[in-house]
Amino acid sequence: MHGRLKVRTTAEQQEIKRKERAEKVKKFQAGLHRVFQKRDAGELDAEALQITAQLLAGNPDVSTLWNYRRAVLQHYIDTKSEDEVQAACVEELDFLESCLRVNPKSYGVWHHRAWTLSGAPRPDWTRELQLCDKFLEYDERNFHCWDHRRFVVKCSGVSAEAELEFTDTKISTNFSNYSSWYYRSKLLPIVHPATDGSGRVAEAELLKEFQLVQNAFFTDPNDQSAWFYHRWLLGKGEQRLALDCIHISRDPCRASVRLTKPVKLGHDHVSLSISVDGKPVEDCRWKNATRGSDYGMLWTYDVPRGTLTERGEHVITAELSSGDNDDDDKRLSLSCTLPADRGECKMAMRTSFCRSRMTAAKTETLTDELESCKQLDELEPNNKWALLTIVLLMRALDPLGREAETLDYLSQLSEVDPYRGNYYRDLGSKFIMENVLEQQQHLEDKVALKDKGLTALYYTEYLATVSELNLASNKLTNVSQCCHLQCVTKLILDDNELESCVGLGQLPLLVELSLQNNKLSTVDAVAPLSTCPRLERLDLRGNPMASDCAVVESVRAALPQVRELLLV
């Protein structure tokens, strides 16, 4: 089914082949028939093993036959002496090895081998590891064999340190060693765990690892594995669940809370409560601002009338609780004070989007690496791995200071590696958003992102308290992420490439929306806007729909709440 070249044959050759195949099928079916006869009669004996062996030797993926063999062997395990069982298992392992020589990638064979070893009274794990070594020499990427090796390691108690050394050997002798680097990514955090509980690697070992991977990709700059591994080394640990921002307003009377990661409130013991002036608000019904999912980072609650006075000062506190039992409960709280004469207030934690505290040693290592990658880029200007790694290193070292340089390299990448052009453009958009949010720490009321070349919208949860947002003159085709703009009153999306307004529906405070010069052509495209309760001004000039009178009329009819609708 894979890798079978189509070979031209004459009608006569085809006829010979057809007869051969028919003969094989007849023999196989006769064998199968006999097997089923025996199985239905409950015969678990040597003949069963003999017939199934003949069939499986040529067709190792017939699970039913392996199941029957297991039934026979299990019967032996249940009824025969330990020595007899051991002998049968050794014979089975020999048979399996002969199957592997024919087909080293059969799920059925490897699975049965592991099963046999699990049932054998005295499995020879040393020999098994040697078998794995042998098959990995034939094919370093045989994941069946790697998985089997991990099974053997687990059963026989080989240490993670020993396995790490094994990957050292593989990496230093072979190319095409993605599987070895991958295994390292699992072993390193076990052998040298970071002390901060992040699940990452301890600093000293991490720096040595940077050296190791650097040697690999400078020796063979076109072997992808090392570059992939390097990206992982640069990565961060997982986010901890915590409160990130609280916002309260009098009109509409509403609280919103942002968390550091998506949750489903009321599930998995995660709950959120609000108290006003020390008094808990009963029965909070939180709404997820993220559409199309039960999980979200941004949750809003329509606070009942009378909870807040029209002008008085109030202290609002949000409390997050998560954890399986009371002892493990991680309660986190965030408060903000609504001043007497103000309509809203917000409080946000300082979030780092792109800057991370690095030790001097790590900064030095990465700076040297960046220099070396730039030299490699000069020698091999079309090596996309070097270009991408330069980008990632600059992001790690100086994301704000090197923004222009980073975007320039991404632009080069789109030319050198055009198939993935859209990926590099979206990555650039993500970096731009990170830098904007890093600089203004997401507490600004008005955010301008005009003419930034944005192809995708990231981190819109961090724009949840923004009242005016300008996204004009970008390359947006999709605004589904705008659902998080819970406080936006004025939104400008002129000169983009929007064919639909999905994501702009139900924006509770949106009053003015400009969508000039997009690609909106039907009334369906703007239908989501009918659910924006406060929308008064809508500019649709310069869209394909403007030239169709019928569409224009149906748009006016679909959006009766809009007092100022500009179409032509």
Partner: protein
């Protein structure tokens, strides 16, 4: 489920229970999701079982299963999307993991995964269409794993499914999670 259960089984169980009975509460979804997440790797992908290397076929099973139970946010879409779009080779075809040959069936496993996580535009669609069509046998019909090889039903199915996802409108819309026509999914009243 013990740790001997491989991901294809998790995914197919989800599908069966969801499609046939719409009764996901019959399964301990949280435990199944924890098992899937235990198969997550450094490159954002998923392997056969915890500790296994990422492979496009397994990724499809995991991403599809997470989509059915509404837990797609557990996937690092940008990291996985990058790994998946790197499956596209100069020929335009897609492989199943690094340093392997392109294969029409990966037009499905990789493409459907990219679609589910909203990153289909990260590959060059036209080049992939060219590769799939070049894998057709113009004498007998059907698709092979790559140009010049023997055709078979397996690659014909995934070649057509891939072409549908790539926008070929002489074919019905295909649902990327279930690998079934969207009209059937709609008729069954299923939403994912």
């Amino acid at each position: 489920m013990g740790n001997k259960t491989i991901l294809q089984q998790v995914f197919s169980r989800f599908c069966l229970v969801f499609v046939a009975q719409h009764r996901l509460e019959a399964i301990d979804v949280n435990k199944a999701v924890q098992h899937i997440l235990a198969c997550r790797n450094f490159d954002g992908g998923f392997g056969t079982r915890p500790g296994s290397e990422s492979h496009a076929g397994q990724i499809y099973c995991c991403v599809g299963a997470l989509a059915i139970v509404g837990r797609l946010h557990e996937v690092d879409a940008d990291l996985l999307g990058w790994w998946l779009c790197e499956r596209q080779l100069p020929s335009g075809g897609l492989n199943g993991r690094p340093e392997k040959l392109p294969d029409v069936c990966y037009s499905w496993w990789v493409l459907s995964s990219l679609t589910i996580i909203g990153r289909l535009h990260w590959i060059d669609k036209n080049k992939l269409v060219d590769f799939i069509l070049a894998s057709q046998d113009e004498e007998t019909g059907g698709f092979a794993d790559r140009p010049g090889d023997m055709v078979d039903p397996f690659h014909t199915l995934f070649g057509l499914a891939g072409l549908s996802l790539l926008g070929n409108r002489s074919l019905k819309h295909i649902n990327p999670v279930f690998c079934m026509s969207q009209c059937i999914i709609d008729r069954l009243g299923l939403t994912v």
